[in-house]
Amino acid sequence: MSLLTVADLSVAYGRIQAVQGVALDIAAGSIVTVIGANGAGKTSLLNAVMGLLPARGEVTFRGEAMARCPTEKRFSLGMSLVTESRDLFTTMSIEDNLILGANRCGRREIVQRMAEVFARFPRLKERSTQLAGTLSGGERQMLAMGRALMARPQLLMLDEPSLGLAPIIVREIFHIISDLRDNGVAILLVEQNARAALQVADYAYVMELGLVTMDGPASQLAGDPRVIESYLGFGGADTNTA
């Protein structure tokens, strides 16, 4: 059964249409990626699904219609979003950031979940009293993911998790993403690093100018000549297709 279904979703900024009639579907425990160029509408799509942006269309999560559901409600139903800017509580410690990720839980529950997060991201444990604002880019990404995982989400949405990170860190992050999937967390991954995203994902969508222009199993799209040329290739001919 689908965990998340998006149908005919549109987002507009004033008269600018950022997302136009997008449909997508995520099965529980799978990784779905959305790839596309800067400005294709990927971030707007995630924000609309999380309820951060007003949108038209349907978002159904665990069988419930999400229209009129504020972000906080979607969060408590099991959706988490790690944004491109991470939105950490920069002047608070790593530990406090994680505590706030499970702010509705009792103390014992918080301690237990924090131990799980630290097991997954040992680096965070070493620095648990350090302020979030003093962390490096990779550590910030880990903390943002850790904070989201404190809520034990069923769907984790990641916006450009590899942004600005060195290749070795990117590898680590993608490793954790596939491990999370193996533990039953569904993941909606928005990436510019299309090659890495297609390797880790089960299913993929391509967005261009607010529209989904292609979709299919990730391995199949990775072999599609149009995808190779537009998103994977650094070589190839000078001609480009729209």
């Binding site: 999380m50 951060l52 009129r68 504020p70 972000t71 906080e72 969060f75 408590s76 988490s80 979003l81 944004t83 939105d87 950490l88 509580f89 920069t90 002047t91 608070m92 406090d96 505590i99 706030l100 990720g101 702010n103 509705r104 904070r147 989201a148 404190m150 809520a151």
Partner: protein, 345 residues
């Protein structure tokens, strides 16, 4: 200026500085959590002082009626805003909380006021009447504008100030009142007198500041407020509702404002519009402290208190001019050391 005068002025500085510090700290908090520059903070001081004065005189304070009226307005607005999802039960719940409770309070006050129950129960009753106005004001004026710019929120805050001052006149009248002190005792310390009241004010302030500190550092609710202040979006992403943090911040503001009113009411005569200038001085301190730092705001408040006390001694006519112009050098400093183009990356 001899030593006695100096010590007297020092004591005076400390008392007014303490009150400005409370106001400044809550203003910084409200601003960072809700982005509202809450100009009407001083009105809660007035309401607190004048409500206590009425209770002391054995009268039903105007705030009891005002709370009922504001609650009714909030209830109507809440029901119209939620009209698409409103159920009978929800409507009943809104009515009980917004209208029922204030009505109950009004009945209690009607019974209790003539009995003159004494200072402490009257103070508690005052807080029960004034503090709920904080979250109600947030709901009526600011909640629908949660995404508006700081400037729009500031102008709305000024509108709320106008409304609250006007209502203050209606419900308290134009006369000024002074409440009785916690204590009339005076201690002699060497060659100067220290009133027990001033010790009360300073210790209460210190206790409140310490309480706020512990609340922000140690409790999850306090951390949620801090989180919302650092990143509103980050807070929403971990399920912290900005409406809830808004209520909480405004409740704290009203509480601290009303307590300041209880303290200041015995030190000076308070009129329906006195709170504005008191609040603005707290604001001057908050701005001097940069609007972000609690300790800096509190320290600046002591400075404001000192400047005020000493200028009222040496240039009494220009006391207010001096207090409000000390902000200018700070602003000047900011404008000189500003980067060529703001907010780039």
């Amino acid at each position: 200026m001899d030593a006695t005068t100096l010590l007297l002025l020092g004591q005076d500085s400390l008392i007014s500085g303490a009150i400005y510090a409370l106001l400044a700290v809550t203003m910084v908090m409200v601003f960072s959590v809700t982005r509202v520059l809450f100009i009407p903070q001083g009105e809660f001081v007035t309401y607190g002082a004048l409500t206590l004065a009425a209770l002391e005189a054995g009268r039903v304070p105007g705030t009891a009626w005002l709370l009922l009226g504001v609650g009714a307005v909030a209830a109507v607005l809440a029901m119209t805003r939620a009209r698409q999802t409103l159920t009978f039960l929800k409507a009943i719940r809104i009515l009980i909380i917004d209208v029922g409770l204030p009505a109950l309070l009004l009945l209690i006050v009607h019974w209790a006021a003539p009995l003159k129950l004494g200072l402490v129960p009257e103070m508690l009753l005052t807080l029960a009447l004034v503090v709920p106005l904080g979250p109600l004001v947030y709901r009526i004026a600011f909640q629908p504008l949660a995404e508006a710019s700081i400037l729009v929120l500031l102008i709305v805050a000024v509108g709320v100030h106008m409304g609250m001052t006007g209502l203050g006149l209606v419900f308290f009248g134009p006369e000024g009142y002074q409440t009785s002190a916690f204590s009339d005792a005076v201690f002699e310390l060497g060659f100067m007198n220290i009133s027990a009241q001033s010790i009360w004010v300073v210790t209460t302030t210190a206790a409140l500041l310490l309480g706020l500190y512990l609340f922000f550092e140690k409790t999850v609710s306090g951390k949620m407020l801090r989180a919302a202040a650092i990143s509103r979006r980050g807070a929403r992403l971990v399920g912290i509702s900005t409406d809830r943090t808004g209520y909480l911040a405004f409740t704290l503001t009203a509480l601290i404002g009303a307590v300041s009113g209880l303290m200041i009411g015995s030190l000076t005569t308070i009129y329906y519009d006195s709170g504005f200038i008191i609040g603005l001085k707290g604001f001057v301190a908050a701005i001097l402290g940069g609007l972000h730092s609690y300790p800096l705001a509190a320290a600046a408040a002591l400075l404001v208190g000192t400047v005020e006390s000493f200028s009222s001694y040496s240039a009494s006519a220009f006391k207010e001019v001096i207090v409000f112009t000390i902000i200018i050098p700070v602003l000047l400093w900011r404008s000189i050391f500003r980067p060529p183009v703001e907010h780039l990356e």
